[in-house]
């Protein structure tokens, strides 16, 4: 059994807590949160040891691994402390606020051969993995453009005051929403390299942006657009979609379906000429415990498997997340 603790019991922390709590290979022993209201609820109603000081939890509980789901501005110091104590680390996204810290942490984890993962769950979705396979099989031929979009209804009024609405804490649409879109572009196409024409728009928030629009160029030369808005109430929940255009056709994919258009049929891939639609139901493997999308259980399962099999080749490593952090810095600079 792998002994695990969690830092941060916000929305993501609680979700990880439930998934780990139900995992057959995990012994979730401790949780930590700075809010006495939340920690008292856990003290009263769960079996976990409860802490308000994460250092104390790590030093006292003899953990093998830690899940960090605190506000982003605390990630750097917490990840450092966890690695110093030889813990495998799963850290929520976005990884860190300063891109240079991301590289230092990636190097440190790699040197110590500790499993390191960042919570970019789109990498574990059946639909996006199908797109990755199709691209690897060159289904679209030479690519010439992409469009990465995320929309959702988070900030719909001029109010609200949490760390997500404060500048410099890792809140805002750029850190919270666009990081997912950027990571998905990286996962499917290549590392993002340059940006231009960036617009960070304030719609309802004073201190942070509510929408991000930019042009992105990848390391392989492919360019495309990023369009993200968390003040869009025409979506019931966060919706991330990627459109990829190539000389042989086009793919449009989101969490629920992959739509493929081919100019000519592809017998190797069993795809006919014109449109083919593949659904999540045929692309998703069952999980042992379901909370809110197979991908959330699958990413934790991957983390646990990496620990069990001493496998440090992680599907969403610190190293890969560092490219998203770098691009976020570039978007901020470019928007000024």
């Amino acid at each position: 059994m792998i002994r695990i603790g969690i830092i941060g019991l916000g929305k993501m922390g609680i979700s990880h807590c439930a998934i780990l709590g139900a995992h057959p290979d995990v012994n979730l022993v401790a949780v930590c949160d700075s809010s006495s209201f939340v920690i008292d609820a856990f003290k009263k109603h769960t079996r976990f040891q409860c802490f308000t000081d994460y250092r104390k939890m790590i030093t006292e509980m003899g953990l093998h691994a830690i899940v960090i789901a605190s506000p982003t501005k605390f990630h750097t110091e917490m990840v450092h402390f966890a690695l110093d104590n030889s813990l495998h680390v799963f850290c929520e996204k976005p990884f860190v606020l300063k891109a240079e810290d991301a590289e230092i942490l990636a190097e440190k984890a790699e040197k110590k051969k500790l499993v390191n993962q960042v919570g970019y769950h789109n990498r574990f979705l059946g639909t996006f993995n199908e797109v990755k396979i199709l691209l690897q099989m060159n289904a679209l031929g030479e690519l010439y453009h992409f469009n990465g979009e995320s929309y959702g209804p988070v900030v719909l009024r001029e109010k609200g005051n949490t760390w997500r609405s404060q500048k410099g804490q890792g809140g805002g649409c750029l850190y919270d929403y666009a990081s997912h879109t950027i990571d998905l572009i990286h996962f499917l196409l290549d590392k993002p390299k340059d940006v231009s024409g960036t617009q960070l728009k304030h719609i309802f928030s004073n201190d942070v942006e509510d929408a991000v629009y930019s042009s992105i160029t990848l390391q392989n030369g492919l360019s495309g657009q990023l369009s993200v808005n968390w003040s869009d109430e025409t979506h019931r929940k966060m919706n991330t979609q990627i459109t990829i255009l190539g000389k042989k056709g086009k793919i449009i994919a989101d969490a629920t379906e992959v739509k493929i258009f081919l100019k000519e049929s592809n017998e190797l891939l069993g795809l006919s000429k014109g449109w083919t639609v593949k659904y999540l139901t045929e692309l998703t493997a069952n999980v042992d415990y379901y909370l809110r999308g197979e991908e959330y259980s699958a990413q934790i399962d991957h983390f646990i498997k990496c620990i069990k099999h001493s496998e440090t080749n992680n599907k969403s490593s610190f190293r890969s997340a560092s490219y998203t952090d770098q691009l976020i810095s570039k978007l901020i600079t470019d928007s000024k």
Binding site: A18, G21, F37, T46, V154, K237, Y279, T281, N286, L291
Partner: protein, 288 residues
């Protein structure tokens, strides 16, 4: 419970296989009249139970049903909470802000019920107040079964916070004199947990379909548990988000002795008619 229950996903842009279809449905059902017309069709087809989330718009539907002679035999099964309402509020306002917004009265005043519970950190009492807030819109409507949504049931299961499942169960029985129901994506785990907490033969709604979609732990395990008849079971996601054709889908679920009711949603009279008649036919074949 009746054999066939009518669901509401189609009305509120929930579609598990296509966000695009979901948006098209949102557009089609923008006006309450459009929803009422489909409910009327369901009633004409012999379906008298509407199982729906506590979405703001359901309040409007309740206003139409309440006291209306036409709907005197019509039952509503509320499913709480409408989770995205809370999830978005937590992102925007934090936990305290969310509680402040959804618990009635001033939570920082000990003169208010909510305030007292908040100060004393009486989480079960807070949960009851939030249940009452969700139930407000159903006042004067016949709600014989009241459900907790899978995201909450399954979250509490994973956290091991069984206390709150019991709080819900008792509160629904005591205050609303209704049958508490649990929606889940983890049927085997839920039954084990509830039985350990002393809740026998609970009313449960779970994803059950021929291809094993959203049946955590696998279809084999589910079939075993269903055959044990340890709960009053409603099957949902029978069509596996549209991956299965209606005939094949309903034949499978009707063949499972241990499934009491079947939940499905549809937007047109012809689809309602088709599904209802397949279920009726298969049910007679299997159960006589």
């Amino acid at each position: 419970m009746e054999r066939v229950l009518f669901g509401d996903n189609q009305f509120f842009g929930v579609n598990h296989s296509s966000d695009e279809k979901a948006r098209a449905q949102t557009m089609r059902f923008q006006q309450d009249d459009a929803i009422m017309a489909v409910l009327d069709s369901a009633i004409e087809e012999g379906i008298n139970t509407f199982m729906c989330t506590t979405h703001d718009r359901v309040g409007e539907i309740c206003n139409r049903i309440r006291g209306n002679e036409k709907y005197k035999d019509f039952k509503v099964y509320p499913c709480m909470p409408y989770a995205h309402k809370y999830a978005n509020a937590v992102t925007e306002l934090g936990y305290l802000g969310t509680i402040k917004q959804f618990v009635p009265g001033n939570i920082f005043s000990t003169f208010a019920k909510g305030g007292l519970a908040f100060m004393k950190k009486d989480f079960s009492e807070l949960a009851k107040l939030m249940i009452d807030a969700e139930m407000k819109m159903f006042h004067g409507v016949n709600t014989p079964v009241i459900w907790v949504q899978n995201v909450i049931t399954d979250l509490l299961l994973g956290l091991g916070m069984t206390d709150f499942l019991v709080t819900f169960y008792k509160h629904i029985k005591e205050k609303y004199h209704a049958e508490p129901g649990f929606i889940t994506m983890n049927l085997p785990l839920l039954l084990d947990t509830l039985e350990k907490a002393g809740i026998e033969n609970p009313t449960v709604c779970a994803s059950i379909n021929k291809i094993g979609f959203r049946m955590s732990g696998g279809i084999k395990k589910y079939e075993e548990v269903i055959a044990q008849k340890r709960c009053r079971l409603v099957a949902m996601q029978v069509l596996a988000a549209g991956a299965l054709a209606p005939k094949e889908a309903f034949e499978y679920v009707c063949s499972l002795d241990g499934v009491e009711s079947i939940l499905f949603g549809a937007s047109s009279r012809s689809n309602i008619h088709q599904s209802k008649s397949i279920i009726d036919r298969c049910s007679i074949l299997v159960h006589g």
